[in-house]
């Protein structure tokens, strides 16, 4: 039995994985994308926002987490621009403001939105949850100038009536969900949508069921669902075939591993006798 198991050298598995990931990227298969409840809730909420509503996009987007968090944020922000709402970006990771300006915004259609009037980037705040709490309570105390023009925020038209978190009609947070639930939703009761890492999805479903989250887009998979609803072909839909194929491969190896384990276990028991 042992001699047939070529996969004992894990490099064969890596090679197979690379082939399985690459084929759908080079030649898309078009596997179906079923829409989950959490993505649908997010889409419906943004779809119902009246034109001119104020939305806070708070994020920890960085180069390292882009493949998982970038596509959900791109899809959500694309939808916001399409709805004609006013968007305020704030980052809680050092790379976030730069990546928002150089990678996120150039990818999407802004429908003629103007910087300062329809959207603004307030830069990066150090301090994690404490900074988030301070920002939610009094924006002008922690942010003095914007990231792009370095203009005092009191002189930026979009910031005219925005002083704290409760002045927003919706908050979107990209990253982990606990901090924004504690600092945006619980004290201010502002509807909250989160775009989260794929592996954190199951952990946050209880928050969705409890009504603390108004929507959730889970990683690349959630982004593919959102892009499908939006009719926008981005990284989510481009990667969804590869994702399905790799999951099939992992499931196949789980089955093969178990079959191998049980066969060798029976053999080992037989040898002992």
């Amino acid at each position: 039995m042992e001699k047939y198991v070529v996969w004992k050298d894990h490099r064969w598995i890596y090679l197979l994985l690379i082939v399985v990931v690459s084929i759908p990227i080079l030649s898309p298969i078009g596997l179906p994308v079923p829409i989950s409840k959490s993505t649908m809730m997010s889409f419906d909420l943004i779809e119902k926002l009246p034109k001119g509503s104020k939305v806070l996009v708070s994020s920890v987007l960085a180069g390292g987490n882009w493949p998982d968090l970038g596509p959900p944020e791109t899809a959500l922000v694309q939808h916001l621009f399409r709805r004609g709402v006013k968007i305020v970006f704030i980052g809680f990771a050092d790379e976030t403001p730069t990546i928002t300006e150089t990678t996120l915004l150039p990818r999407i259609n802004k429908y003629g939105a103007r910087y300062g009037e329809d959207y603004v980037n307030l830069g990066f705040l150090a301090g994690g949850e404490s900074a988030m709490a301070a920002f939610a309570n009094d924006i002008r105390k922690v942010v003095t100038v914007d990231f792009v023009l370095k203009k005092p925020i009191a002189e930026i038209p979009i910031m005219k009536d925005i002083y704290k978190c409760s002045d927003f009609d919706l908050v979107i947070h990209i990253g982990m969900a606990e901090d924004p639930i504690r600092q945006y939703f619980t004290p201010f009761r502002v509807p909250l949508i989160v775009g989260v890492y794929g592996m954190m999805g199951p952990h946050y479903i209880p928050y969705l069921e409890a009504g603390q989250l108004s929507g959730m887009v889970i990683g690349l998979r959630g982004a593919a669902e959102y892009e499908y609803l939006l009719g926008f072909k981005g990284e989510g839909l481009m990667g969804s075939d590869s994702l399905s194929m790799t999951h099939l491969l992992v499931a196949l190896f789980c089955i093969l591993g178990n079959v191998y384990y049980f066969i060798t276990k029976t053999k080992r028991k037989g040898d002992k006798r």
Binding site: V21, S22, P67, F124, P202, G219, L220, H247
Partner: protein, 234 residues
């Protein structure tokens, strides 16, 4: 026209993935470059942050309270001097105190009260699927909590309840494992979507072939050197 940003990105991506085959000089180049760049970038950003948030308000006379923050920050560095390292505990205590205070302000409601009240649901809902879901939620929450009660004599009934709780936990771990695989694969897919994009695929082929040849040559030289050493030792 060579696009250097794409060239560098492809080169370093392949350097990192070369580790999947075995540790190589390419992997070490990528590792050390990344550490150096990340350290430099973070240091500059931290200095800029101190200037923007604290130094400008102090120097313009807008807020002198930040002098206290700067002193607390400097006190952290006393941990490098053994004699005065106890001083660094004070700013650490302030940091932990603020962090805990900010989180505790809402954690009771956000993560305890709301989560418990979300399980107080009607067992009979308007649809059969919802009714089934609600019954499952109640049974699974109660049995999972019961699994962690370690006091009391073990009995047949409590053993059965614990078993259901254990299966519930295993289902949760299974879902988490599935989503963890999803995240890891997402990172791989993100890189390969870039590598196979129109602007990068030619660099991928050229750099990939050069790297493979270099690795093969290195292995050959290493084998030759090893052969020489072993013949000398005899």
């Amino acid at each position: 026209m060579i696009d250097f940003s794409i060239l560098v990105a492809v080169f370093f991506t392949l350097c990192v993935y070369s580790f999947l085959y075995k540790e190589s000089p390419f992997w070490r180049i990528a590792e050390q470059t990344f550490i150096g760049l990340a350290l430099g970038y973070t240091t500059i950003l931290a200095i800029k942050n101190i200037i923007d948030v604290a130094w400008i308000p102090i120097s313009t006379g807008k807020n002198y309270w930040f002098i206290g923050s700067i002193i607390l920050g400097l006190m952290l560095y006393t941990r490098f001097i053994r004699k005065y390292s106890w001083i660094s505990r004070w700013p650490m205590a302030v940091l932990i105190g603020i962090g805990t205070g900010v989180a505790m302000r809402t954690v009771i409601e956000a993560q305890i009260v709301r989560q418990i009240s979300a399980t107080f649901i009607s067992l009979m809902a308007d649809t059969a699927q919802k009714t089934f879901n609600n019954i499952c939620i109640v049974i699974m929450v109660v049995t999972s909590l019961f699994y962690f009660t370690f006091t009391g004599a073990p009995g047949k009934v409590s053993g059965k309840i614990r078993t259901i709780g254990r299966y519930t936990l295993m289902l949760t771990f299974g879902a988490t494992f599935g989503y963890t695989v999803l995240t890891r694969m997402t990172l791989l897919i993100g890189r390969f979507t870039f590598l196979w994009s129109l602007g990068a695929r030619y660099y991928l082929l050229v750099i990939g072939i050069i790297m493979l040849l270099a690795l093969a040559l290195k292995e050959k030289i290493e084998k030759l050197v090893q052969g020489k050493h072993s013949s000398l030792s005899f």
